[in-house]
Symmetry: C2
């Protein structure tokens, strides 16, 4: 298997890409779906933003009137335009701002305002927690009613009380991937709007928002986009909805003329009205490096490699470590860029792997999760995961793992 | 005047502090109330976060179980605890998160929930725009009613419909400073709660939230705290309100046990429930450097220097450039750490000063605004501002200023 993996690496069209990231050669990093690795170009770019743009040019860096300024003020739109082709969106349909949670609140609110008389936001139990919690926030305000239906029952639950179907395209724990086209159509047929959370999709699986007619989407900057810890998130609004869009986090950066300093809010035209407060420029600048890198590789190559890596690993694991129950779909058409296995001691196994510099993560209560970031994961890393996990199970060394877990940010 | 300024600098107890910042010797920087200067310690710290914590230690940096990790997960509370003594708050009453705008939304919502039957949020016209716009967001949700009263009429407007009095302590344009104790008492006497925006206060003027019995506050990280462009903001909730506090931006980081990944939201105890999404770690790490620096100098020294600088400048300007109308209060007791003057050509004057490396800013339509960041502004800078402005007005060079203005972030 090691030999086959080396052969696949040698013929991999993305084999040069790992060198664009700061990852030690002896580290097999399967946690790029939690925190993407550091692009080698990032430290210099961040140092430039800190020392030159902030330190030397100070306040003038907000502007770009003469084309020579740092143009901080345009970063949300500029990075959004670079993300757009990765998700089948047009320029002007994507903006970078705040966090996934905050952007969910904006877009759920907007959807409810567009469907007066309907209050239900439909999702599934076990969706990523923050998605469900943000609906609860609107429920607390008495503006929404949260309704959860199991996957198989979602289409039946789409009645005329549903304002919005809100789903995460690739499930954070199992890697299950929704059929975005089918569910978007089902929502529309029921008169509802649809909001896709692309946190575990962007940069790793095929997404074509406009082809399926999606209304809204959000996504994460710190996973496959390699934007750095807690990188700002993005939001998508289909062009046809932008003119009418109303969202309650109406901060000054979303105003039509923020520097007129008027007392009354007037939303900016287009996607800009999703902005709220002043963007965090250092984090945003790091995100731009990650996005540039991924956009440079191109979405088709990323998607193909991602699928090949997970298929290779799924098959090898089934053969070599058959006692681990794979909870991810076997069919790559219905799976994201990750594999998860259930084991009563998943936590201890995860720690034992980490001790051998094979980094994946644990999701309570019993899931061992491995993400395949296509830009830097090698086939030899996958082979090593499988053989070392076999060895760990056989040797029993994982039984010695005792230390406490504080959790990590998905 | 130059001589007197040099004498004051020589005897200034903070004279060594300017060397802690990256500011060219020939720059007189009066825009620290818009974007604070770069602490010299920041580039190395940020590089460490990027290269070591993100690049090398990857996902493990979220944790700090053994006291040796980077502990990103604790940054919001850790930096909040350092800000607390600057504003008269206790440990556990301040947290760093999101932006001023987003934190306003959380706290206005919380206040409305605590005053059922009352919907009015009272503020003043001309308050910083985002403060007013965030109330409009809640008005759009039909949860609030915005009411604006001129300063002199605020106390009379505090009737039993008012849930919250929301004011900016130091006015961003004029520098006028509210009597926080008096207005807090007036609000409480009317059965209302009070929320102070400390964006132009923290690190420059005396603030003692608990002494005046304030309920809520927000503040900005990128002005006098020198936290970097768009640095995250902070929020204060008096301990007595924390247990009952409900806010609708109920993201996973504000959950009691975020890593249990449950479907139902349960707010964390205490101030942590103000967290929403994943914090932007690079920007947050830069803020910590700025806060450490200011906390190290100490609030009393900062406040004293700030007042002395602005008094020196106000008197010198009145004498040397009497045709500029000062719109800031003459009494330093009722003024923040800034001075503003009205002039029909304020924009051109501001640009002419910038051309001479004297950096202040313009606020539409006709205000020239100078902020006195006590940690690095020198008396000789103030003297230079006055004499060069005289020279600019006499020479008429400002009449040649034509280029367009895009605005800068206050």
């Amino acid at each position: 298997m090691r030999k086959e993996a080396a052969r696949l690496d040698a013929s991999d069209t993305l084999r040069e890409c790992r060198a664009l990231f700061e990852i030690a050669d002896d580290v097999a990093y399967f946690d790029g779906n939690s925190l993407g690795a550091l692009p080698k170009a990032a430290p210099a770019r961040i140092a430039e933003v800190v020392q030159s743009e902030w330190g030397q040019r100070l306040i003038s860096s907000w502007n770009d009137a003469d084309g020579e300024g740092a143009g901080w003020i345009d970063l949300p739109q500029r990075i959004g335009a670079k993300i757009a082709p990765l998700i089948g969106a047009r320029r002007g349909e994507v903006i970078v701002a705040d966090s996934v949670s905050i952007n969910l609140f904006k877009l759920i609110s907007a959807a409810l305002a567009m469907r007066p008389g309907r209050k239900v936001v439909l999702s599934e139990p076990g969706n990523f927690p923050t998605d469900l919690y943000m609906v609860e926030g609107l429920e607390m305000q008495d503006l929404a009613e949260r309704c959860l239906a199991e996957r198989a029952d979602i289409e039946a639950a789409l009645d005329d009380n549903v304002a919005l179907l809100m789903l995460t395209h690739v499930h954070y724990k199992t890697g299950e991937m929704f059929d975005m086209a089918r569910l978007t159509k089902a929502a529309h047929d029921a008169g509802a709007l649809v909001l896709w959370d692309l946190s575990h999709s962007v940069g790793a699986v095929p997404v074509d928002l406009n082809a399926v007619g999606a209304d809204f989407a959000v996504g994460c900057g710190y996973k496959y986009l390699n934007g750095g810890p807690g990188a700002p998130a993005f939001a998508f609004v289909a062009e046809r909805h932008q003119q009418a869009l109303k969202q309650p986090l109406s901060g000054w950066m979303g105003h039509a003329r923020p520097f007129d300093f008027t007392d009354d809010y007037e939303p900016a035209p287009g996607i800009d009205r999703l902005l709220c407060g002043t963007p965090q420029i250092l984090s945003m600048s790091a995100l731009e490096v990650g996005v540039d890198l991924m956009a440079g590789i191109g979405v088709d190559a990323l998607v193909a490699k991602s699928r090949a890596l997970s298929e290779f690993t799924r098959e090898a694991m089934a053969q070599v470590v058959p006692e681990l129950e794979c909870v991810s779909p076997a069919d790559p058409e219905t799976r994201g860029s990750q594999l998860s296995w259930r084991h009563a001691d998943a936590y201890a196994l995860c720690q034992a792997l980490i001790a051998r510099r094979i980094i994946g993560d644990f999701r309570a209560p019993d899931v061992l999760r491995m993400g395949f970031a296509p830009a830097y994961v090698r086939y030899v890393d996958c082979a090593r995961l499988v053989t070392e996990l076999r060895d760990i199970l056989d040797s029993g060394e994982w039984r010695k793992v005792e230390y406490a877990q504080r959790g990590a940010v998905t």
